[in-house]
C-alpha cells in the first residue's frame, strides 16, 4: 500500500459496549477513496453503532476510528463526514422546507450567523438538481413521498461536499424511480472520488451497486468484493445463524 493509497476510513479493533450488551466486538474495516461499501446485517447487528462510533457519538470501549489519516473527530469538525439518517429518525412535521434542510449541509462552512453565501446557494441548487428535487425545493418536508424524503437528505449530504458519506438505510421505503436515482447518484459520487458506506439489511440489489461488502453481526463475519461475500454459503451461514437465534428467542 503506497502513501497515496491510505484508506479514507480505517477502523481497528473497535469494540462498543452499552451496559451489559456488546454492540461491536473487535471490528476492523478499511475503505479507500472512491469506494462504495455496503454494510450488511440484520437489525441489531451493530450497523448504527458503527456509524455512531465513526461520528463520535458513542465512546468505544477499545479500538480506534481514523478518517482521512487522522482522528475521526478532526475530520468531523472539518465537515468531511456526512451522515444521512434513517427516515424514521426525522421529525417530518418540523416546519422546514426542502431547501432549508439541504442548506443545513452547508452550515459547517458558514460564519457565526450561518448566512448562506452565493457559493452556498449555488451548492444547494446543484444538490437539489442532482437528486431531482429542484421543483419541490419550497415544499415542507412532510409533504413528500418516501423516495423524495430520502433524496432530501442525500441532497444535504451532497451539499456538504464531504469526503466520507455514511448512509443509513437509504433505500428504505422508496419507489423504483427514487431507487434508480439514488443508486446512480451513489455511483457518480464514487466516480468523483468520494467514499461511501451504505448500511442496509436489504441484500437485493446491493451486490450490483457496491465494490465492497461487509457482513456485520457484532463482529465482521465476512468482508471483500460482493461476489465473494454474497455467496449462498456465506449468506446461509449468516441468515441460518440469525434464524436459529430468532427461534430460540
Amino acid at each position: 500500500m503506497t502513501a497515496g493509497d491510505q484508506p479514507v476510513l480505517r477502523i481497528r479493533d473497535l469494540s462498543v459496549r452499552y451496559g451489559e450488551v456488546l454492540a461491536l466486538d473487535g471490528v476492523d474495516l478499511d475503505l479507500s477513496a472512491g469506494t462504495l461499501g455496503a454494510l450488511l446485517g440484520v437489525n441489531g447487528s451493530g450497523k448504527s453503532t458503527l456509524f455512531n462510533a465513526v461520528m463520535g457519538l458513542v465512546r468505544p470501549q477499545q479500538g480506534e476510528v481514523r478518517v482521512l489519516d487522522g482522528p475521526s473527530d478532526r475530520a468531523r469538525r472539518a465537515g468531511r463526514i456526512a451522515y444521512m439518517p434513517q427516515v424514521s429518525a426525522v421529525d417530518w412535521t418540523f416546519p422546514v422546507l426542502v431547501r432549508d434542510v439541504v442548506t443545513m449541509g452547508r452550515y459547517g462552512r458558514m460564519g457565526f450567523r450561518r448566512r448562506a453565501s452565493r457559493a452556498d446557494r449555488a451548492a444547494v441548487d446543484e444538490a437539489l438538481e442532482r437528486v431531482d428535487l429542484a421543483d419541490l425545493a419550497d415544499r415542507q418536508i412532510g409533504a413528500l413521498s418516501g423516495g423524495q424524503r430520502q433524496r432530501v437528505f442525500l441532497a444535504r449530504a451532497l451539499a456538504q461536499q464531504a469526503s466520507l458519506l455514511l448512509l443509513d438505510e437509504p433505500f428504505a421505503g422508496v419507489d423504483a424511480r427514487s431507487q434508480a436515482t439514488i443508486s446512480s447518484l451513489l455511483r457518480e459520487l464514487r466516480t468523483e472520488g468520494a467514499t461511501l458506506l451504505v448500511a442496509t439489511h436489504d441484500l437485493a440489489g446491493v451486490g450490483r451497486l457496491c465494490d465492497r461488502a461487509v457482513l456485520l453481526q457484532q463482529r465482521v463475519l465476512a468482508a471483500g468484493p460482493p461476489e465473494e461475500v454474497l455467496t449462498p454459503e456465506v449468506l446461509s451461514r449468516v441468515f441460518g445463524f440469525v434464524t436459529d437465534e430468532t427461534r430460540s428467542a
Binding site: M55, G79, I81, Y83, P85, F94, P95, L97, G108, Q160
Partner: protein
Amino acid sequence: MSAVVDWIVAPLQFEFMVRALLAAVVAGLVGAVLSCWLTLIGWSLLGDAVSHAVLPGVVLSYIVGIPFGVGAFVFGAGAVGAIGVVRRTSRVKEDAAIGVVFTGLFALGIVLVSRTPSDTDLFHILFGNLLGVSTADLVQIGALGAVVLLVVGLKHRDLTLFAFDRVHSHAVGISPRRTEVLLLGLLALSVVTALQAVGVVLVVAMLIIPGATAYLLTDRMERMLLYASGTSVLTSVLGTYLSFHVDLATGGTIVVCQALAFVAVYLLAPRHGLLGRRLTRRRARQAA
C-alpha cells in the same frame, strides 16, 4: 366607533397603564419567540420547571435588595443544571428529575416567603403584578428582552438546526451541547422577563401557548416566529386592557386570552386545524 377609541386611548392617560402595556408587549414578544423552539423540541415541561424554580431566587432578591432578575436567573439556571446532574448521575429518568428539582425549589420559595416580613408580595410574585410595574422594573424587562431578541436574531439558525437534527449539527462541527446551553440560558432569561407580567405560576403559558398556536398555522419556521409573536403580543395587550376595564387579574386574563386564541386556531386553522382537516378529508373523498 368613538367608544372603541375611548376604550383603547382612555387608559393611556395613566402612566401605570402605559408601563403595563409596554411590559406586556416585551414579555409577550420574548415568550413567543422562545416558545417556537421549546414546543418543537418538546421542552414545555422544562419551561414549566424553570419558571417555578426561580421563586426562591425572586424572594431572596427582595430580601437582599437586588434586582429580582438576578436571583431569578441564578435559580433558573441552577435548576437546569441540577436536573441535568440528577438525570446523568442516577437512574432517575428526566421527567422525574424535572419534577423533583422544580417542586423542591418552588417549595423552598414558599417557605422563604412565609419567613419574609412583607409576605403580601407572595400573590404578586405567583400571579404577576403588571399594573404595578415600576420604571426600574420596565428598564430591567426591556434590557433582558433586548438581550434575548439580539441573541436569537444572531443564532436562530443554530437553534433551529439543534431542534431539527442534533446529529447533523454534531456532524458538521456545530456542537449541539453548546447550542443546548445557549437555549437554556435564553429560556432562563425569558422566564425572568415574563415573570413580572404573569407571575411564576403562569409564565410557562407565555413560553408554550404562542408556539403551539403558531405551529398549527404554518409549515415555515419564519412564519411560525411571526405568527407566535403576533398572537402573543396582541393577546397580552388585549388581556391588559380587559383587566383594566373589567377589573380582572391581569396575568390570568392575558393567559386566558392566549388560550382562547389557541382554541380558535385549533378549531379553525386552514390546514392543521380540526375543521380544516375535516374539509381536506371530505374533499379527498369526493375527488376519489
